[in-house]
Amino acid sequence: MEATKTYRLTCLSKATSLLTHNSGVQGNEQIVMREGVSTDDGLRFVPVLSGNALRHRIVREPGARYLVDAWELRGNLSLDQLNWLFHGGNLSQSTAHVSLSRQQELFRLFPLIRLIGCSLPNQIVAGSLDCHRGTLVCRENSWRLKAATPEGWQADYAALRSAEHFIEQYQYTRSDARHTARDLAPTNGEDADSNLMIFGGQSVIAGAAFLHGFLARHVGDLELGCLLLSLRLWQAHGGTIGGQASRGHGRLATSLHIAPDVDQEAVIQKYTDHVASVRDEAVAFLDGNFAPPDENKKSRKKVKA
């Protein structure tokens, strides 16, 4: 049996652009997601990054995309298979069935799933990765930051700025072609309400920092390699969180601490080698548990590892 360890990954992510991880809309204004924190001054609501969003953006999405590319499955996956890889899947069969042998096989072929868990059509499989929520580095969170950082990481938490210092407003205007492309607008006298729309909301300012991290419980080199590779892929592809990345929002620059220390390059190489070696078995697993897309089933070629 492969030796396993529990790793604690601590990340500090600094916003390099405004960040709009929102909780909802009030009128036509988007509101930054907040959570209640008990402070010496009473209850305060401070901006937060949800663990759900961090887990998806940092681990699941880059991890799944890597598998699709490495196994050359682009265009060859059914919607069910894609939903399973990118969103965890759904229990779709009426009877649940716990098969430990299938779970073993799943974990062997997909270290990503061993980390984050999934729902097969008739079996829920738990993962082994705890993803922490993103805690804003601010005065209100000072006691939480102290508790979340490794022992000995002392800092002047009491002097941190208040959370409100990190919140700003943004506003955009969706224009109307009758104003911006007047030369192309129809001239047949069509009357319609203006499409001009002003919209905006709150954002967390560039320069704000969030402390977050992962606890990878009893994992081997493959799972850790998968996690580290996903983190690197996420950062290499912009490292965004929250909405409106298309407008330049939500970019994070992340630094990482791992305890116990590990040879990152070695575990990532081990993971990528493993992914290459199990390609055909993994594809067979996917097809065995989810109906493959009919039109692609025949065209799927076996690839040498």
Binding site: T149, A155, R161, A209, R232, T254, H257, I268, A276
Partner: protein, 162 residues
């Protein structure tokens, strides 16, 4: 399969963590500061009402103009340069230069806020920006008190002369 050539994430350790946090601190931010901001911001609005040029502008637009003056000035000043912020606000309400120059209350208020340290000044601009409407309300209340006091003083003078 070759490992994708991706750079490792920067290393986070106790020293790096402390450095990052140092950039997010504000040691000059006592809890009582917002009360200080509120009082001085309200007084600013009162002084703008006092210096509002009623000869050139419609007096009915007094508070709309002051709100615009505060919002515009805050939008243009992001470095805590309160001298410039005050100047922009006075320009928006078309304050008479001679009257502004001889206004002792205005001079005292300018001296009070512009001599504070940068952290305080930045905080003040931020407070004005985020509390414009309530600051106008408080400023108007102060302005009404000023008018009442002036009226009482005038009446006292008139009664005294009779």
């Amino acid at each position: 399969m070759n490992t994708p050539q991706l750079p490792p994430l920067p290393k986070l350790d106790a020293a790096a963590f402390r450095r990052e946090l140092a950039g997010l601190t504000d040691p000059q931010a006592p809890k009582a500061m917002s009360a200080d901001y509120k009082e001085l911001a309200s007084e600013f609005c009162r002084l703008l009402a006092k210096r509002f040029n009623r000869d050139q502008l419609d007096a009915l637009t007094l508070w709309d103009r002051i709100a615009t003056a505060v919002t515009t000035a805050c939008g243009k000043v992001d470095d805590g340069d309160l001298d410039r912020l005050i100047c922009l606000a006075l320009e928006t309400i078309k304050a008479d230069v001679s009257l502004a120059a001889s206004d002792q209350e205005l001079a005292y208020w300018i001296g009070t806020v512009t001599e504070r340290d940068e952290s305080w000044r930045l905080g003040f601009v931020r407070y004005l920006k985020q509390h414009t409407l309530t600051v106008i309300v408080h400023g108007r209340r102060l302005w009404e008190i000023t008018k009442d006091t002036r009226r009482e003083e005038r009446e006292a003078v008139v009664n005294g002369s009779n």
